[in-house]
C-alpha cells in the first residue's frame, strides 16, 4: 500500500477507464475522489455501482458533468439526468438486479466465472443469458464483473491499509475492493497499525493499493 494525494491518485486513471465506486445513494461514496474525477475531467468512463445517486451527490456529479459513457447499476430512479441522457442515447445503462450486481462483482473479485441465480428468470433480465437447471430449479448464469479501478470510502484505515466501514456506508465497498486491478481508498480516520482488531477488519490491507492522505 502507498499513501498518495487525491490529485495523484486520480491522475493515474485514464479516460475510458472502468471504475467501480462504492456507495448506495451516495452513502459510502468517496466524494473527494469523485470531485477530483470531475476536476480533472476524466471522460468516457464506465461506472459500476449500485446507483447513480441524485444530481449533485456522489456518482450524480459524474453524470451531470457528462463524463460517463456507460453505467452498470441496479437503480437510476432518483437521478432524472441519468434517465435523460439514457433517453437521449448519450449514456448506455445496463440495469442489473441489485443482488445479482453484488454477486457479479463479488465473483469478479473472488476468481469465480459467475453464479447461478434465480433472479431475473422469465423477465427482460434473462435476455442473452444462459439458463441452467440445478436440482429441478431454473437459474440464470450471471457472469463476473471486474473494474480497472475501485474507489472506496472507508470509515477507518490503518497505516498498512486495513479498512473498516460503518453502518450502511459499507454496502458495495468491500465487494468492489476485491474486484479491481487498482484499489484507491479514502478513510474518514487514519489510525496507527494495530488499533483495528483483526476481527473487525473488513478489507484486508494487501488488497488496497493506495490510501488517500488528503481526502
Amino acid at each position: 500500500m502507498q499513501s498518495i494525494c487525491v490529485e495523484d491518485a486520480v491522475a493515474q486513471i485514464p479516460a475510458g477507464a472502468t471504475i467501480a465506486i462504492g456507495g448506495f445513494l451516495a452513502v459510502g461514496t468517496p466524494e473527494r475522489l469523485v470531485d477530483e474525477l470531475v476536476r480533472q475531467g476524466k471522460s468516457h468512463l464506465t461506472i459500476i455501482a449500485n446507483d447513480t445517486a441524485r444530481p449533485g451527490t456522489g456518482i450524480g456529479k459524474l453524470i451531470t458533468a457528462r463524463l460517463v459513457d456507460r453505467v452498470i447499476v441496479s437503480h437510476i430512479g432518483l437521478n432524472p439526468e441519468t434517465q435523460q441522457q439514457m433517453m437521449a442515447g448519450t449514456l448506455a445503462v445496463e440495469l442489473v438486479p441489485q443482488g445479482t450486481l453484488a454477486e457479479r462483482i463479488r465473483a469478479g473479485g473472488y476468481g469465480l466465472g459467475g453464479v447461478l441465480t434465480p433472479t431475473g428468470v422469465g423477465t427482460r433480465v434473462e435476455e442473452g443469458k444462459q439458463r441452467l437447471e440445478v436440482n429441478g430449479r431454473v437459474y440464470l448464469l450471471e457472469v463476473a464483473l471486474q473494474a480497472d479501478f475501485a474507489l472506496i470510502q472507508a470509515f477507518a484505515a490503518d497505516y498498512l491499509g486495513n479498512l473498516t466501514y460503518v453502518l450502511t456506508a459499507r454496502n458495495f465497498n468491500p465487494l468492489i475492493a476485491m474486484a479491481a486491478k487498482t484499489v484507491i481508498a479514502c478513510a474518514k480516520h487514519i489510525v496507527p497499525t494495530g488499533l483495528i482488531s483483526p476481527d473487525h477488519v473488513v478489507t484486508p490491507a494487501p488488497i488496497v493499493d493506495y490510501l488517500v492522505t488528503n481526502p
Binding site: L25, V27, D51, Q98, A102
Partner: protein, 216 residues
C-alpha cells in the same frame, strides 16, 4: 383513515414475532408504524441493515445510517450491518420471511410488474426482483387504481418482475390472494361494496359467498 394508512395497518396484522421483514419504499414503509403490540419483528433495509428503527429525532440523524430510500433512520439495540452481498444473500436465500412491495400492475394469477414503464419511466429494478424471487412471502401494498385505471389486470402490459407470483395484494378496496393461480377476494375495504371492487378491477376476480370487511 386515509388509503395508505388503511393498507399499512391491514398489512401490519400479517406480522408475527421473530419475522425478518423487508419493506419497500412508499406505502410499504408505513407498515413499520403499525406493528401490533407484543409483536417483535426485525426490519431489514437492503442497503445493509437489520434492526431498522424509526426516523431519528431532529438533529440526531447520522448520514451514514439510512434506509434503502436514502432517508436517515435509527438502529435498534441488536441491529446488525453488512455488505450488499450479505444483504441479498439474506433475501435470495429465503431468510427474509416477508417483503411488502409496491406495484404498477398485478395480473390475475398474481404476477407482479413494478420496475419500469417502457419509454416513460425506467428507474431500474433495484432490489425488487431479488425480493420477489427470494422472500418467503410477498405482499403487495398499493392503491387499487392509478388515475382511475385498474392496476389488477387480466394480463400484464408492463415488464414482469419475476415468474414467482405474489401471495397477497392489499389495497384500500380489497384484500386479494391467488389460490390455484386465480385472484380471489378475501376481504372488502371498510364500507366498500362488491360492485365497487368489481368496477375498479380489470382482472377476473373470484368472489366467495362470504367476503368480510377488512379489519385494519
Amino acid at each position: 383513515m386515509n388509503a395508505p394508512t388503511l393498507i399499512a395497518r391491514r398489512i401490519a396484522r400479517e406480522l408475527r414475532s421473530g419475522m425478518l421483514v423487508n419493506l419497500g419504499i412508499g406505502i410499504p414503509t408505513l407498515v413499520a408504524n403499525y406493528v401490533p403490540e407484543r409483536v417483535k419483528v426485525f426490519f431489514q433495509s437492503e442497503n445493509g441493515l437489520i434492526g431498522t428503527g424509526a426516523v431519528p429525532e431532529e438533529g440526531m440523524a447520522e448520514p451514514l445510517l439510512t434506509d434503502a430510500g436514502g432517508t436517515p433512520v435509527t438502529a435498534l439495540p441488536g441491529a446488525s450491518t453488512f455488505d450488499s452481498a450479505v444483504s441479498f444473500g439474506l433475501i435470495r436465500g429465503g431468510h427474509v420471511d416477508l417483503t411488502v412491495l409496491g406495484a404498477l400492475q398485478v395480473d390475475q394469477a398474481g404476477h407482479l410488474a413494478n420496475w419500469m414503464i417502457p419509454g416513460r419511466m425506467v428507474p431500474g429494478m433495484g432490489g425488487a426482483m431479488d425480493l420477489v424471487c427470494g422472500a418467503r412471502r410477498v405482499i403487495v401494498a398499493m392503491l387499487h387504481t392509478a388515475k382511475g385505471e385498474p392496476k389488477i389486470v387480466p394480463a400484464l402490459t408492463l415488464p414482469l418482475t419475476a415468474l414467482r407470483t405474489v401471495d397477497l395484494v392489499v389495497t384500500e378496496l380489497a384484500v386479494i390472494a391467488f389460490p390455484d393461480g386465480r385472484a380471489t377476494l378475501l376481504e372488502r375495504g371498510p364500507g366498500i361494496s362488491l360492485s365497487d371492487i368489481k368496477a375498479a378491477t380489470a382482472a377476473e376476480l373470484i368472489i366467495p359467498d362470504d367476503v368480510p370487511e377488512m379489519w385494519p
